[in-house]
């Protein structure tokens, strides 16, 4: 079999394009279940914040976050059985330490401010991951961040309801979008 340099160049270009597309779609497919999971958790949590008193909503969030973290762990274990390990726990530890430090430094932080802070933190993470992971993740981060700031600044008492519907909805929709080819 004889292959000319032109044919070799074209084949390599084709391989490169296919590989890039496949790798990006693979990242999307791995990322999607996390978005859908946390979209549901946010819907329940922000829904509770919108409908219940601050004290009652404060009680609803910890079990929801624990449930979400457990689901997160299950997804990671299913996707990468030979990866993660102690590093996975370390991620939550570092994020927890960061959040506690920020809230200590900026205390007193109102429930509304803390309710806006977490989505912004998530949006930032998606923006950073999206730089390498792909445009759709980047867009998800940008949309989530913009919706959070908009809701916090413009919607006053409707902020929690906004986050329950639009914030969690954007996560779920993004998750479904990432699953498409």
């Amino acid at each position: 079999m004889s292959i000319t340099p032109e044919e070799a160049a074209a084949a390599l270009q084709d391989i490169n394009t296919t590989h890039t597309r496949s790798a990006t779609l693979s990242v999307y497919a791995r990322f999607a279940p996390y978005l859908i999971l946390w979209g549901v958790v946010w819907f329940l949590g922000y829904g509770a914040s919108a409908l219940l008193s601050e004290g009652q909503a404060g009680l609803a969030w910890p079990p929801l976050v624990l449930l979400g973290s457990f689901g997160n762990w299950l997804i990671t274990r299913r996707q990468t059985p030979d990866h993660g390990g102690w590093r996975y726990g370390a991620i939550f530890l570092f994020i927890g330490l960061f959040v506690v430090s920020v809230f200590t430094i900026f205390a007193p932080v109102s429930p509304r401010q803390s309710a806006a802070f977490f989505p912004l933190l998530v949006a930032l993470a998606y923006l950073l991951i999206g730089l390498w992971g792909g445009l759709r993740i980047l867009i998800t981060g940008a949309v989530l961040g913009a919706l959070t700031v908009l809701g916090f600044l413009a919607l006053g008492p409707w902020f929690y309801a906004w986050m329950a519907v639009v914030g969690s909805g954007s996560l779920i929709m993004s998750g479904l979008w990432l699953r498409t080819v």
Binding site: L12, D14, I15, S22, V181
Partner: protein, 107 residues
């Protein structure tokens, strides 16, 4: 210099191998997803997959999920090696074979 692989050097089969080679170790891809990524028809993709499976380059796992049959596909170690060798061959056509060090030449 690496050798050409006639079986892999066909546009659709090259794309199949490149797509599956981008997966993580042990990861599989569903037939329908592969078909959508490559924008191929069922028949065309199936024929090429059978050819590659016959050569031992990929593995097709058939199973049931929610009572529906599905095919999961992944490269075998031999397939990964064959694909990488063929890519090296293509690069060598453009860039020439890798230089042999003087120490290696003496042995």
């Amino acid at each position: 210099m690496a050798a050409a692989n006639d079986l892999i050097h066909q546009q659709m089969r090259l794309r199949i191998m490149a797509t599956l080679n981008a997966l993580h170790k042990g990861e599989t891809m569903e037939f329908t997803r592969l078909r959508n990524i490559l924008q191929a028809t069922d028949g065309n993709l199936g024929t090429h997959l059978n050819t590659l499976e016959g050569a031992g380059y990929l593995e097709i796992i058939k199973e049931f999920a929610d009572r529906k049959p599905r095919s999961l596909i992944r490269l075998t170690r031999a397939g990964k090696t064959a694909f990488e060798d063929h890519v090296r061959y293509l690069r060598e056509i453009l860039e020439g074979p890798p230089a042999v060090s003087s120490a290696a030449r003496r042995t």
